[in-house]
Symmetry: C2
Subunit: 574 residues, 2 copies
């Protein structure tokens, strides 16, 4: 029964100190979210699979953790076997039908083996096939025998798919040896090809989705945005719009774990849905500034861009269909330089003359106002681009008018996150200079947040997210956690035997009523042991003696020692 | 793409008001836990399956939510098919071997069908079988044909197991018709029995565990105690013992959802591990009292018992092996009365003379002290029982000496929760009289918390749990949530067009810096619409006009209206 205990890779235990520090960050976020009018919601850990699947692209679908249907899912097992065998069969049949005219060889009749092995449905497929062209019959028969053997081996040996493929191949080739020698080489080559191709794709071809649906109908939350959209549509009659919500909950991704990337991590999101007002973008920049200022994190840079500007640039250079290629190249400016970027753009089919039009992008510096002016000159022919400039100007001017506490605002035309869904503003926050930590937050506007769940409900949303884990690491690196964050018990009463223990507990009861964190060492252990316990837990005060109604107190760091009444102790510790 | 959105049964969305109320309860718990010296830890949402499986009994294992292995789990699919077919086969073979001497009938030889269908391994089994007794060959052959047909039907039709059973039965009986008439009836009866028995157990017999392991290696946390034990063993070198931890996290159970029972719910646990001191039991009673007093929940009853007393009683009545039967019967005292309980005990084999010894239990009233005295008289011959009394006396006397704020303490000898793991004190808290809500908390001591993960580390633990959902319902029913809990935004500035919006946002920025929850309606909508928004969100103050540096404020409930500067507004709202 004994097991060496461990936790799944990519997950973490959090110690008391870590929990306290994380709660410190989250409680600051929470208080600012609420000060800005955002209200908390929480959604279930798992959603119906159809709520999540297909919302994050193919890669996302793969990274979603699926939950096995509970209880008796074995009843569905027949279906799985069917799907499995059928898929194998149909895949091979398909391959054969492709190659059927390439080869024709004599072979035995379809015998009882096949009838027994292949189900009625399979046989029906074969008969349909045969009826189309009698000449296919022979070649089919040949393969079906090998197929039977292979399947039969497969289900009876616990083997890797690699092994099965090789085994199948071997068997087919053996049978070939018995063929008419004139056909031998031709058959051999063809069979080898079909078998390799087919079996090589067996496992990748079988639609994991089909199988998964049979045994799993629920999946762990992958982000907070899709559940939020689902929440908004499901509860639209109870919600007063515009709806400003925040949500701080864990999400799960079956990503390969690596340094700083976990399979379970918290997201901290604030979004508004149901209004297109740009004041919300203004406010979200203020919210970032406000949270980071309170965390003592000075000098973060809130980078802003607008998808419409990126579209405008693409339009101006005649590459509206190459928006992604273009932004991917532009994004490499600080790595591969102007010439490198231009080279890549040319390779992607963007004309040299077009590139001249966006020449200023390669030396894009100055104040936000100067950058906006440069963009205006560049994008004057693009309606969408000019709209993007207008939006950015409104946001930046108003942010500046209202003033930021500690953060810098910067316009970054290379910023291109979330192009699959963001339609307006794009935000990203980078840690203060000198801290190697990439982005610690990001967000943007998506014009149609809820359409995936209700085509009639095309609500515009805009939101930002805070990267809890990275913020934690930055605060740790810069030593910005207040010392008080992880202070737990303030005073430990020694247990000096049962007669004094009750007196100690009486005092502790009073202290606790006065909101002082106090406790007694539970056992009447040796004084030294109790002393070490206080030290190891970094409890500042110990009470190591009681005389009448006075307590002998010592501060473990300063060494200061004194006798006080409970009331005086309260005064000192409060 | 559009879907009617919903959430899985047994899960919940929490609205802003609900989140606020839940956070209110949890933050009170948290602050008291910390005042009592308990430190927070958090463990991952999913654990390795082997950490959880087998720790909660058979029923528990079934109710644990399993997570599908991510990525390419199809590679393991062969194994599943093998296990499945093999189990079916072996089950039937087993049934046949039991009945083999009962019947003997003529039948055809094992034909190619069987060879093709049954794998080498199966055939080897058959041959082994045949070698033992040639006469079995015939009967085996008879069944294997039917078996083949049945399996073949099964894997080719998407059918329920019920259907398959019937179909198999039908086929066997058809074959019987062709048998030697002299054998017909005998065969028919036997076959019917075997088929029914065997197929009826098909699906329940297949070890779900074996299949599940292949496709799932992780499972959702089922409670907080087992992960805590795992945490303690895994981190034992970093932990300073005795270790007082609290943990507030959701758990998941695939229970049938019903009123008040959810598949996702929070547990709020405080436990100490690494000391057997009874002061901890004392403290935990105080902790319950302290939390419920702060929540304003007066008159809860903290019921206490001790497993050793239950064992002592069972020992005294000579039914140490009937501890569960005995406590189950005793627990029904208030439902079926003294005579009913006695009758049930007699039925369970407890002697009438024995019952006389525990006669006082049936009229068990009075103060805790009186009850302890009665128990002492009753259990004087049981060492374990007397130990339990001593423990209870220590706990209750000290709790009384220290005093409780609002809760009642009661000794309840019928209290018998968690007998599978609790070894000492047992706690349960019931809601105030008049509130129909069962227990709102429970706990106890378990002498060996960590042995399941490390036999060398047999640490004693004692802990309590708070039932968040039920406490929520009780506070709601008794109207005990403070009104301020769900107050969100305090003042809404109307958006009176872009020229004034900036002024409004300037004022809001100042208010927020002074920790006042303020916001502006994002769009310059009609005044009426903005007004309704404030009303629907229950925002008390609106600012509906700006004149110079003064704001026209109105209180939506009292109707009071006034003009103030930002500074005065701060003073009023702080």
């Amino acid at each position: 029964m004994a097991q060496k205990p461990s936790i799944p890779k990519g997950t973490r235990d959090f110690s008391p100190v870590e929990v306290s520090k994380r709660n410190y960050i989250m409680s600051i976020m929470r208080s600012h979210f609420e000060k800005f009018g955002y209200q908390p919601i929480e959604t279930p850990t798992f959603e119906n699979s159809e709520t999540l699947m297909g919302k994050y692209g193919e890669e996302g679908d793969r990274l979603i953790f699926k939950i096995l249907n509970s209880g008796e899912y074995l009843g569905d097992f027949n279906r799985l076997i069917l799907i499995y065998l059928e898929t194998i069969y149909l895949t091979i049949l398909n391959e054969l039908s492709k190659g059927i005219h390439e080869i024709n060889t004599q072979n035995e009749l379809l015998d009882k083996y096949v009838k027994a092995m292949l189900s009625r449905k399979f046989i029906q497929e074969i008969i349909n096939h045969i009826n189309k062209d009698r000449s296919e019959f022979r070649i089919y028969n040949f393969y079906s025998k090998s197929l039977i053997k292979a399947i039969s081996n497969e289900i009876t040996s616990i083997r890797s798919s690699e092994y099965i493929r090789e085994e199948f191949l071997r068997q087919i080739l053996e049978e070939c040896e018995e063929c008419d020698p004139r056909e031998n080489i031709r058959v051999k080559n063809f069979v080898e090809k079909v078998a390799k191709d087919t079996y090589g794709r067996w496992f990748s071809n079988i639609e994991a989705k089909d199988l998964t649906k049979q045994i799993s109908e629920k999946a762990l939350r992958y982000d907070l945005t899709v559940p939020f959209a689902r929440y908004v549509v499901q509860h639209q009659n109870e919600i007063e719009f515009p709806f400003k919500r925040y949500q701080i909950q864990p999400v799960w991704r079956a990503d390969r774990p690596q340094k700083g990337r976990f399979r379970e991590f918290f997201q901290c999101d604030a979004d508004v849905v149901g209004s297109t007002s740009l004041w919300q973008e203004v406010e979200l920049v203020q919210l970032y500034d406000s949270v980071f200022a309170t965390l003592g994190l000075n000098g973060v840079t809130i980078k802003i861009n607008n998808r419409k500007i990126l579209s405008g640039i693409a339009e101006v250079i005649g590459a509206s269909d190459k928006l992604i290629d273009f932004t991917v190249a532009l994004d490499k400016l600080d790595k591969i330089g102007e010439e490198g970027v231009k080279k890549e753009m040319l390779e992607k089919g963007i004309a040299e003359t077009a590139l001249e039009k966006v020449q200023p992008l390669f030396h894009f510096s100055g104040s936000i106002e100067e950058k906006l002016d440069k963009l205006s000159a560049m994008l004057s022919s693009s309606e969408e681009g000019m709209k993007g400039i207008e939006e950015l100007r409104f946001i930046c001017e108003n942010v500046m008018n209202l003033g930021l506490q500690k953060a810098n605002l910067d316009l970054d035309v290379t910023l291109a996150r979330g192009l699959n869904y963001y339609t307006g503003a794009i935000f990203e926050v980078s840690a203060p200079e000198g801290v190697a930590m990439g982005s610690i937050g990001g967000g943007g506007r998506y014009d149609d947040l809820t359409g995936i769940f209700d085509p009639k409900s095309k609500l515009s949303g805009v939101g930002i997210s805070f990267g809890l884990d990275r913020i934690y690491l930055v605060l740790e690196e810069l030593n910005l956690f207040p010392e008080t964050v992880s202070v737990s018990t303030e005073v430990l009463f020694f247990n000096l035997g049962e007669s004094q223990a009750l007196e100690a507990m009486k005092a502790i009861t009073v202290l606790r009523k006065n909101n002082i964190k106090a406790e007694m060492y539970p056992d009447a252990a040796k004084e030294d042991k109790q002393f070490k316990h206080a030290q190891r837990r970094a409890i500042p005060y110990i009470v190591k003696g009681i005389e009448g109604d006075r307590f002998s107190v010592k501060h473990l760091v300063t060494g200061e020692a004194f006798m006080v009444s409970v009331e005086d102790l309260i005064g000192r510790l409060k």
